[in-house]
Symmetry: C2
Subunit: 197 residues, 2 copies
DNA sequence: AGCACTTCTTACCATACATCAATGCCGGGA
DNA sequence: TCCCGGCATTGATGTATGGTAAGAAGTGCT
């Protein structure tokens, strides 16, 4: 059933069709209703989620009790609190569903199995880690030095589909501004203040 | 000579004294004068630097031509543009020395050698990657939702020594604010506005 | 000692973004 | 159909932080 996941295994983790078939029976999927949680602050995160269908969000609560979205995960994305999984410590984050979704559960059992089946797994996982770090470095540098407008334009480049699927207040939360401010940023852009940063 | 590095190999990468001795001859060190560069924007980053002595900084230039410091690396820290190294692509970042420093060069040769000597190397490297991600997630969430004051207090906890060794404008650059604003934050804290965030 | 240089601070004003409140828009449920 | 709740927008105003300019303190050089 999880076709996206199978394609992902082939294209990104270098598995052959045969290897994928060997794994089929131990692939666990789960349906998640909109607003349902996969991880809450305080829990130890036990797995990584692959989004087969739908859209998840990974967020923190800030000092004012508002949510700051660190990451969106649409189809074919992975999401997890890797720190919590790896160090087996309580997470500071939440993961929940923005839309009704189907996820593939990647827990330690699955990782053991895939490591047996494909010796290259470790290598591809390492690539994912490096990619993640690269992405986070970029995010930090934008948050340090770029205006809300620049960050919004960058978001559109990264996630054009997500832009159309989530309410604007979630985009604002990802950008670190209020929904009102995002609304004004958008108005400025529409009013062709293109020269301005 | 690089005693810190040798201790690091033992304590953090699980090598025995014997294994460390085997590596001694292929450990390359380099002196870096204050303000000298180890990496410039546009270059492909070829190695990771272990700070044996001194203090480095990892930074980007923002849209206004000012530097945004992503990371400080005092003694016993590693610094690198891992994304650039791994994907062999031009870096967006700079690394230079804040103080006269001595670094150990960790290039692919060294990694090959250490992998032969210690089979656990990959494992410890993976731990480093996860730690890095955990740290960056925290940094992003603070930048998204915490005030300058909170971020400053958090910085002091993370890097109490660095605070005393760098000019304040560098701390400001790490926090994503101006030196003037940092000065005001510090005045507020000194004037005992402790309740206020 | 004198000078240049950098850093830190402060005062004053500007700007980006936040907050609050009101309005209008839509889409879903009874 | 009507209402209701969530969302987006807007205007008025508040606040945190930025920018500029000036001065004071520290450091190193000669």
């Amino acid at each position: 059933m999880p076709d996206n996941f199978k394609a992902y295994l082939k294209n990104n983790w270098g598995l052959t069709s045969t290897e994928v078939e060997q794994l089929t029976e131990c692939i666990k999927t789960q349906s998640v209703q909109k607003d349902e949680f996969l991880l809450r602050q305080g829990e130890v995160c036990k797995m990584t989620f692959f989004v087969e269908q739908g859209l998840l969000r990974f967020y923190a609560l800030n000092e004012n009790g508002k949510s700051d979205i660190l990451q969106f995960a649409p189809e074919n994305w992975l999401v997890s609190d890797r720190g919590s999984v790896y160090f087996n410590e309580p997470s500071h984050y939440f993961i929940d569903a923005v839309e009704n979704s189907t996820v593939v559960l990647i827990d330690s059992d699955f990782i053991d199995r895939i490591s047996e089946v494909s010796p290259l797994f470790r290598k591809y996982n390492e690539r994912l880690l490096h990619n993640h770090i690269r992405h986070l470095n970029k995010r930090v540098s934008l948050l340090l030095g770029a205006s809300a407008k620049t960050r919004y334009l960058d978001f559109i480049k990264l996630h054009p589909e997500v832009l159309l699927r989530v309410p604007q207040w979630m985009v604002a939360s990802y950008l670190g501004i209020t929904p009102e401010s995002l609304s004004r940023v958008r108005r400025d852009l529409a009013t062709q203040n293109f020269g301005k940063k």
